[in-house]
């Protein structure tokens, strides 16, 4: 490698460092929150044989920067461990992790990234972003409410969206049949938020 090459590499490294810092630093965005995993939940409601059943993801990480007064700089970055899908039945849970559904060994996580937030009807908000499952990204809109705690600095963020599982290839081969497993899957969440590092200093809340 010659000197120009080395310089180029250094420059690229610098650019990527700056870029990753910008992406990873919600402190630069709106109010950053820390999600309380013990009291937060991410559930899904799917249909089987025309009947609904509920499952949940036991492991997910939600990076939330949200301020109703600063929607422009609000951000969601949610990472879900697909292998943590729990429907309270071993057979079904194993099928979900398997190649025909989440294929968790190949795609361990599903993500939702939103950078655009708008006010929706009834005092709710809509996060417009990108949902990626099995490596397939699709635009998705999540409608939610944001309720600051009456006391303290916390807040509760809850909402959901309905997706079509087949848009993401969740259900391969014979499982593409929607007669016995519906295409629509409702995703719901309730995130209990505590003040992030920036707020802990007493600047906001």
């Amino acid at each position: 490698m010659n000197r120009i090459g080395a310089r180029l590499a250094t420059a690229m490294l610098a650019v990527s460092l700056v870029a990753s810092l910008a992406l990873a630093a919600p402190a630069h965005a709106a109010t950053a929150w820390v999600v309380d995993p013990a009291h937060s939940r991410l559930t899904f409601i799917a249909t089987q044989s025309g009947g609904e059943f509920q499952g949940r993801f036991n492991r997910f990480h939600a990076g939330i920067a949200f301020d109703p007064k600063d929607l422009a700089r609000s951000r969601f970055h949610v990472t879900i461990e697909t292998a943590s899908a729990d429907t309270q039945d071993e057979t079904r849970d194993q099928a979900l992790v398997g190649d025909d559904f989440f294929a968790s060994s190949r795609w361990p996580t599903a993500t939702f990234d939103a950078t655009r937030f708008v006010l929706a009807a009834g005092g709710r908000y809509e996060a417009q972003g990108r949902l990626t499952i099995r490596g397939i990204g699709r635009d998705a809109k999540v409608v939610f409410t944001f309720q600051p705690a009456s006391a303290g600095h916390g807040a509760v963020l809850s909402g959901g969206t309905t997706i079509h599982r087949l848009d993401f290839g969740v259900g391969q081969g014979e499982w593409q049949d929607t007669k016995w497993i519906g295409n629509d899957v409702r995703i719901e969440f309730e995130l209990v938020l505590g003040p992030g590092p920036a707020q802990a200093g007493g600047t906001g809340g």
Binding site: Q48, S49, G50, G51, E52, Q88, D89, E174, D177, K179
Partner: protein, 186 residues
Amino acid sequence: MQWRNTANSYGALAKFLHWTIVVLIITQFFIAESADELPDGIEKLSLISRHKSIGMLVLILAVVRIGWRLANRGTPAQVAMPRRQQIAAAAGHGLLYLLVLAQPITGWAMSSAANYPVTLFGWIQFPALVGANHDLHEILEGVHEATFYTLAVVALLHAAAAIYHHVWMKDDSLRRMLPFGGRRTP
């Protein structure tokens, strides 16, 4: 043929319910056996779904049958037989009703314990009978199977008794429940 029971024969509704439940329960056994042999997949799921829907249909029909029996006080007169046999017949019928109800109910609870929905052919969804619980599901699976074999034995005794009355006693016990049977010509 009358809807209601008469002094000589069961009415059309009682007969219809009796024989429909018989056919459905026999069908249920074969669906369950076929599903059991299949690997996990859409075919197995569809068979189990049908099994559950038919089971809920049996439950509804059994409730209607019992309700109709209670509302329809004029059941056919007892054929003449010793008191001991009358008590045995009444106990046998009571046990049959109980088992025909228990069979779908244990199946329903078994689905609920594994967090699987129970519907009537996807038209309506029944609420979960019990919360999701793996151990309870295993227990209920055993109970559901045991209930079936008990039901099969009691139902066979019931059929054998009806045939005994028909062939040896030459009375109307069987005839009055047959789809187009009436009273034996005197």
